[in-house]
Symmetry: C2
Subunit: 599 residues, 2 copies
């Protein structure tokens, strides 16, 4: 299975075209501004300052650089290029002669370089390597690439040859997937060897970890091939699984393939929110146990959603199953996009599925606060991993659309775009996520496989204007194209209920309302308070509208009781119209209550 | 309104007779054993030891002594008397010549006597004063009473006359209610003055408090007469409100009467579990905000339930309203009794309304644990306030039953007992809490007011064997008795649903099942796991049985879905028989899931 990378694909407009425009014009600049204000860029100069850098600042900058690379790959932007070059210049100038670079350790703890397993050193290195590959691949810059190859060589020397670092594997996976990316880009086998070393050494011995965490937290509880259940810090876990999937593909290792399959099944069958969010607890930002998916105190970190989408993409390169793309789609339009505000400036780190202003306000009234999700997105966090992770993901979304296998081309996501694969030109025009229609035009001689979304209300197809009964195999419509072919698809988008598995105790007796790939939510600014007592019996009569926001108006009831605290009189039902919007758009109109699961 | 104290009332058998037997034979001895093992009794000797006493040890011992006083008032027990006398002797020997006694400060921080407002010094003094009054009142001991009067005199001198302590009011209310009790027992006005001083000075200035808490935590945010909403640490709050109610009665202060009324309305109208538990968060063991009553992470401390019952009792002395006794009854048979195990040895500090073994087990697997209620009762806690609070409450429950106003006698709780009021003898035989029948026999010439329980399925009455239509006024049956009268009552106990107010977001769309005064719960040992997905549509066909446990079998359904995590297929309903038991008996058969609120 050959991927069709983002560089081969032009996103031509539509929903994601607009997201990319916002990303390139607003988000990437605003993040740069906030990162500058907080000292993330100046830290790259590696000079002592009052503003002590955080241990993970380099990774934030690296993801920003990676975003810039993807933007510049598509369209020149002299200002953005200058900002990127300044950062690259600082990194290269600060890099030690041996190849080492870390803006925190060089300045604050030079004596502890490669001594502290928990302190994100190789995690930062991994993100810098990813940025370097992206920059070179995009034709934007070669300096950082050269510098990071030297850094990778140095890591190889210290960890793999001399083995004189104080730890074997990094507390936060990322270096493994970065080295595999570097290997596949460069063809240098030593990077593959080093990645496989880090993967193979993980979980085989006791290594330093936070004293407040167990070995499950950073996935060192078992050798990677024996890991069948997703545990611990969700982003750490998924970055590791991504590397495992890449390694499985590169090395044809059946034990790794099986582990990846088991982990995917465990996550998507037992530990994933309906929004595609994962990692349900703030404590260790972690996976918990099967079916434990609390809504109000959900963690569901934006980075974990991104990582799940990336993991799905990597799994599909092992075998292009529709279910991987269905999960990706769920993540993309819900738990991932919810991480960004409509204006492209604000970000959520945490993505709850229910919000009670009362809980937040009470918590704010305390002298010592407890964990509580934020009511509105903010522009920067102390740990600001999510914002540049979103921008790099949005900018490289072209890579999520197509795949090829011999003469067969797969369309996995309906995102308006065009590409050229082999001798064929393919263009997709899509109404997603608000309309279930798509037009796929092909010029060439190829087999075409068009994914049928899991949410389809039906499938109708016209080929060059003529109605054709689609042949569907394993959730793909199969066609053979020769010449100029226009395929018009309609998957009949309509609102539908989603029920969680009976074991998801947080959602028992409740249902979510979805519309195509979108999970919908209701907010108090549209519906008044006390959303928990709103009952939706049926979706017949529901009305969708595309205005400033997409909205779905649903006939609903509000349970009304007598004013006392307890009563033996059953509640009455007061009819009203519930106004739902896409979950990813919540909290764009001020602080208020929000809910996904209804009675 | 004259109370009829526990000393005037003999509990003659039935449910509470058995509780008192267990209390006197098992609980009080077992608590003594555990308190001895943990150094609580040896600390009274005030000698340096490796086992540093806690700041609140004296209060634990004091409540144990108070329990012993109530037991010995009824029946001689030489062994118990010897244990009590040993403790009393140690306290008296350790008391300083000035009258001061505190086993922690005298030994560990003598330089800080009356310097640290947050460290429970006057709280301990208050409980010792209560114990001393109980011991003298019971005719058991006068030494502690004399000693504690000297201590109270010393507190009066330091806080009220010289005002040379480092604080004005104690961080944990209790001294106020204790001084009022001492005043009413002794008639010494200085104790009333001191109590009123502590009440009047509270909340009028900034005083030392924990830096992790606000002034609401210990109810110093407002002068007491302006406190209309229950806030902060629930036990602190209710101990303060008890003193306010007593002070309101003694001083005929309308502002205090109004404040007590508002606080009662706020608690019982917005902040009380269906079990009568209060204080819904572990963080500060506190009241939170209106209608915030989470079930799984409920705090609902046993001591707070006890304090609410005591507050209701105090309010009824201002005006004998049925609602006070209805709340008391709710507390007694549910959130208070749940604090004790069936064998009388184990205790819950925290009383959740829902328990998920999975959440507990996951939490136990963490290196750094979060707050999570315990699955089973334990015999002693580090902070072991609840066990001796239960024993003193059970032993003095006789004082909850009757009240008198001129020639009228009120029967407020149906607890098998007899008393003599004025020239009349009154005897109650009751089937509570499992049967709604009661027989009230009177010999004398009195007006009789028999409370009609809020849960009544009906009321039927026979007087001397003849069916009589009861005259009900403000939830009391009114009768006039002259001579030998036997009143047979049947309040038609039957299972019924309870619905929480529409704003209680934790319970929306759910219902509890109750039977008379009992809130019922289901456990996984009877019903399998996944109680959240159990639906109860109707109680017709429900079967009650009194075996080892009282049980109610209810036709129910289990929601069943396809095995996937999310599906658009609505769940099917699988019929089964749900077996419910009284909430207070949960967790007596090992660790498992438990639930009160059903779909």
């Amino acid at each position: 299975m050959e991927p069709v990378g983002y560089r081969q694909v032009e996103v031509t407009g539509g929903f994601w075209g607009e997201m990319q425009r916002l990303n390139a014009e607003v988000s990437v600049y605003n993040i740069h501004k906030r990162f500058s204000e907080t000292g993330r860029f100046s830290a790259l100069k590696c000079q002592k300052s009052e503003n002590k850098p955080h241990i993970f600042y380099d990774s934030d900058v690296a993801k920003w650089l990676e975003s810039a690379a993807y933007i510049l790959a598509k369209k020149e932007d002299a200002h953005l290029r200058a900002l990127a070059e300044e950062a690259i210049g600082d990194i290269c100038r600060s890099q030690q002669p041996c190849g080492y670079f870390n803006s925190y350790f060089q300045v604050c703890e030079p004596e502890n370089i490669f001594q502290k397993r928990t302190e994100h050193e190789l995690y930062c290195a991994g993100h810098l390597i990813e940025a370097a590959v992206a920059l070179k691949e995009a034709g934007v810059d070669e300096k950082l690439y050269a510098a990071m190859c030297r850094y990778a060589d140095y890591i190889y020397d210290r960890f793999y040859v001399k083995k004189d670092a104080a730890f074997t594997t990094c507390g936060h996976p990322e270096i493994e997937l970065a080295l595999l990316r570097l290997y596949e880009f460069s063809g240098e086998k030593k990077y593959l060897d080093l990645a496989m070393f880090f993967l193979n050494e993980r979980g085989v011995r006791e290594e330093e970890h936070y004293d407040w965490a167990t070995r499950r937290y950073d996935q060192t509880h078992l050798p990677v091939r024996e890991q069948k259940e997703a545990v611990g810090h969700a982003v750490r876990a998924l970055y590791l699984y991504i590397a495992m999937a890449d390694a499985a593909r590169i090395s044809h290792d059946p034990a790794l393939v099986a582990a990846c399959g088991a982990l995917f099944a465990d996550i998507t069958g037992k530990k994933m929110y309906v929004t595609g969010g994962v990692g349900s607890t703030f404590h260790g930002e972690a996976f918990t146990f099967a079916y434990d998916l609390p809504n109000t105190f959900a963690y569901s970190e934006t980075c974990a959603a991104i990582a799940l989408a990336l993991f799905c993409g990597r799994l599909s390169r092992l075998q292009n199953k529709a279910e991987y793309h269905a999960v990706s789609e769920r993540v993309l339009y819900n738990g991932l996009l919810s991480g960004e505000s409509r204006d492209g400036k604000g970000f959520f780190y945490v993505n709850p599925l229910e919000f009670h202003e009362g809980i937040y306000d009470y918590n704010e009234s305390l002298a010592q606060k407890l964990y509580c999700p934020l009511p509105e997105r903010v522009e920067v966090f102390d740990c600001s991993c999510c914002p540049p992770n979103i921008t790099r993901f949005i900018e490289s979304i072209g890579g999520q659309i197509y795949a090829a296998e011999g003469d067969t081309v797969y369309v996995n996501q309906y995102i308006s775009s065009r590409t050229r694969i082999g001798g064929a030109e393919i263009e997709v025009e899509s109404g997603m996520p608000y309309r279930g229609t798509a037009r796929v035009c092909v010029n060439g001689r190829i087999g075409l496989r068009l994914r049928v979304p899991a949410w389809k209300g039906g499938v109708s197809m016209r080929v060059n204007g003529r109605r054709v009964q689609p042949k569907i195999e394993a959730d793909y419509i199969e066609l053979f194209c020769d010449g100029d072919i226009a395929v018009e698809l309609d998957f009949k988008m309509a609102p539908y209920f989603v029920y969680a598995n009976e074991n998801v105790f947080a959602d028992a007796g409740r249902k979510a309302v979805a519309y195509g790939p979108l999970v919908l939510c209701g907010e108090s600014c549209d519906n008044g308070k006390n959303l928990r007592a709103v009952r939706v019996r049926s979706l017949s009569g529901a009305k969708a509208a595309e205005g400033e926001f997409f909205t779905l108006e649903v006939p609903a009831e509000r349970l009304k009781t007598s004013p006392g605290l307890y009563s033996s009189a059953p509640p009455a039902a007061e009819k009203f119209t519930l106004k739902l919007i896409p979950y990813f758009l919540w909290a764009n109109r001020g602080k208020g209550d929000m809910q996904v699961w209804w009675l």
